[in-house]
Symmetry: C2
Subunit: 485 residues, 2 copies
């Protein structure tokens, strides 16, 4: 926390110290208001591979990963970090930085698809952090559906805070994953990281009520049926198509709900102008650019009087087209990318910083995007602006929802907390593709082994990060935290 | 549905046909009231092993499983059923019987620890059932923490219905598991089944607001770190101790919350008299009997003036004892079992019918207990009575919460729906332990195999049940449903 910003306590709005002196605030509001993100922590591993170097190592054409997919660097974990250590680090750093007591947390939701146990949740592992506080009354478990689990957990925490079950305490939502692929042309779409969010009332980033829309469907686009392997089974073309269709469907329903709930009528048109920023789950950033452009097509098809001399120039022949017949139309794709150029620059580009530099963090990807967006703007640029968020998890679970920034000391704190995000990305250690490949090969052979002692040096673990010390013969994992000596 | 009972539509309370004509009921109540279980469906496989026969087969002393653990029969699945088919069956039967349209469901939560994929949720598999309705806007994914996932899903659905995200539609909660253990003395504690619940406002079984208490802790008591195996890693003694401690802690906090929220003061004592029925997660039914008796100890220790001539007779020397020092005290355990005899008979015994006859259904166990309780009582016996529910999942996640029965046509329907539960248990097919053992051995060798064609005959699949038709080389599963021809 920069010393120039005085921390504002994250109270429940009725008492000034209500959240620092224990449980069950009898005087809390009946229903929480203006619920949203109070504070966030983004953690990514200290190692990355340069995507241009990976292109050469993989023997593919120059630009395939960097320009074709829009990826610059890819983060990865050594065997010193696993899903539990990533989440421990993100939560503990968030709690320390904000000075929040573990006694003041009434709910903790985890989203992940990096499973190291089919039964025991990552959430129960995070209860290690609560031991000292004596607080065990903490609802929430793990939310499981591919990259969507973090959003499911977020929705659950928001709902809890507005329900009769709320007791005035705050919620934590943690999304984290380690994304690795078998060697080949999908490997470059890996990544790793965790995002922890402190959720509460009177937030600087408040979620819009009653407008979130979802698209859920049965599909085998990306899944992990090989329980013994870290690697997924992927039908890449199907997955992109599912993503696009889910986006189309969510956006159509979101606009309906927005009209009803925010405009309070269904005649004022809702379009991309209603969203100052738009953040997407990012498997690779080029897909996000195309996704933003599809919203232009949706707006065009819904618009009663298209502006063919301006924002819809060139779309004449697509006037009667059905959205779900256009996924393979490369001419249309190019045209939409052109038409959406300015919208992408102002609404979305800045949100891709972490995604370009770390890669796909699965459940954490969308929230890393939100952090990137915040880090690239001033308090003034964010104040009173609305951000749309599109979350996608294969299988399929997707939602489009939104939030708005409320000017306050807390917003200043939120923005300040990400001031050094770019610097943190740049300070990581570059690993040669050869060594990265060797590390993944080694992890393949030791994945789920017990007993197991990690080989990577503890010296390379960042300060204040948790790391895996050992796994005993019963698969019980021990973690330590790296502190300055 | 018996013809003598006219179905009452599950409306949102403001319109009489609001839930049968589509989505997004603009006129719905701002906040759902009296939210609870509208209807339930319990599904268990058609095969069982007799526990006395299993004692002989395993070469253990007679009575070890039947008297020592309190188990009579154990249900199990052939390779024709998996977690997806169990849940498909429970949901589809519930929806058909109640005449509910898939378009009227706004949320679907699944709880399971029977993982067949590390990424794709069971919930997305259940979206197959929604295809015909065209409804894809259905929130909720899988909730993962051992036997607790169903309760986590239930809480999430209840919170959603009381939140600003609620749009007037109903929620579905599905809990299901296949519990199997490696050969040896834990195998007899297996089981299998699924429970689907239709959740909505103005319910016949309404959850009490603001009293649910939880106990979450990091423990390695029961977990599944061997991703390739169906079998868990279990520290039996630790697991029982964790269960007992979680119960003690949840009950203490529940009483505090009950006093504050329901008695509206903290001086009127809350004790077991406040709960007309008490249902527990049941790993084996003898543990439930002991658990109920521990609540007597908690009440005694909290009582200002113990009645040593009556309900506390013999507890004199335990007056100053700490609850968490008593887990291994066999004399105390015997005394408590004696003192709790009547309470067990009236409050809990009837809830164990499915648990005794099917075994541990993991996430579905508690809700199978609730169904057993309802099936064993008349509408009059249930009306205006309160039922306590204790949910436990290893790792540890546990909650104690309660609900009360509201006399209405819907309560009559709920009771009628379970009238044939005992008969359904008795109509299953008995399998000899030898054959059961051979089936599990065969499943071990084919677990997670692809491609795979199940060996068990389709003829043995019950009517209106879904079954696994095949798994292709990409691990994609195909299901069919058995109908009368």
């Amino acid at each position: 926390m920069p010393s120039s910003v005085q921390p504002t306590p994250y109270t429940n709005g009725h008492t000034t110290n209500g959240l620092t002196n224990g449980h069950h605030h009898a005087e809390h509001e009946e229903r929480a208001r203006d619920v949203g993100i109070l504070a966030m922590e983004v953690y990514f591993p200290n190692n990355f591979v340069d995507q241009a170097e990976l292109e050469r190592f993989d023997g593919v054409s120059a630009g395939k990963y960097t320009i074709g997919l829009g990826q610059e660097r890819m983060g990865f974990c050594t065997d010193r970090e696993d899903i539990v250590s990533l989440c421990l680090t993100a939560v503990e750093r968030l709690m320390r930085r904000t000075g929040t007591s573990y006694a003041d947390i009434g709910r903790l939701d985890v989203g992940t698809e990096t499973l190291i146990d089919k039964s025991k949740s990552v959430k129960t592992n995070l209860m290690r952090l609560f031991e000292e506080s004596g607080n065990n009354d903490v609802e929430g478990v793990d939310n499981l559906n591919a990259c969507y689990g973090g959003t499911a957990g977020l929705f659950n925490s928001l709902d809890w805070m507005e329900s009769s079950a709320w007791d005035g305490r705050l919620a934590l939502v943690v999304a984290g994953d380690i994304a690795v692929y078998a060697s080949g042309n999908a490997r470059c779409t890996g990544g790793a990281g965790a995002v922890a969010m402190l959720i509460g009332p009177h937030a600087p980033l408040v979620f819009d009520q009653g407008v979130r829309s979802s698209f859920m469907q049965h599909a085998y686009d990306f899944y992990k049926p090989d329980m013994a392997s870290e690697y997924p089974t992927v039908d890449g073309q199907l997955s992109i198509r599912c993503y696009m269709e889910a986006l189309d469907r969510c956006y159509a329903k979101y606009r309906q709900k927005f009209a009803a709930k925010i405009f309070k009528n269904t005649t004022t048109p809702v379009n991309l102008d209603c969203l100052d920023f738009m953040v997407f789950h990012s498997p690779f950033t080029k897909l996000v650019q195309k996704s933003l452009s599809r919203l232009i097509l949706s707006d065009f098809l819904a618009h009663p009087e298209p502006d063919y001399t301006g924002k819809h120039a060139g779309l004449e022949k697509y006037r009667g087209v059905k959205l779900n017949t256009t996924f393979a139309d490369k001419d249309l794709e190019k045209l939409l990318l052109k038409l959406s150029h300015d919208a992408f620059s102002s609404k979305t580009d800045a949100s891709l910083m972490v995604a370009r530099n770390v890669g796909n963090m699965y459940t954490a990807s969308l929230y890393g995007g939100l952090a990137s967006l915040i880090s690239s703007h001033t308090v003034e640029e964010l104040s009173k602006r609305r951000v749309g968020l599109f979350s996608y998890g294969s299988g399929v679970a997707a939602s489009l929802f939104s939030a708005h920034f409320v000017p306050s000391d807390r917003l200043t704190q939120l923005v300040e907390s990400f001031r050094n995000l770019r610097q943190r990305l740049d300070e990581r250690s570059k690993t040669a593709p050869e060594e990265f490949d060797a590390i993944l090969k080694s992890k393949e052979s030791t994945h789920h082994s017990a007993p197991f002692t990690p080989a990577a040096p503890v010296e390379a673990v960042p300060r204040d990060a948790y790391y895996l010390e050992s796994i005993d013969g019963m698969h019980r994992r021990q973690y330590l935290v790296k502190r300055d000596s």
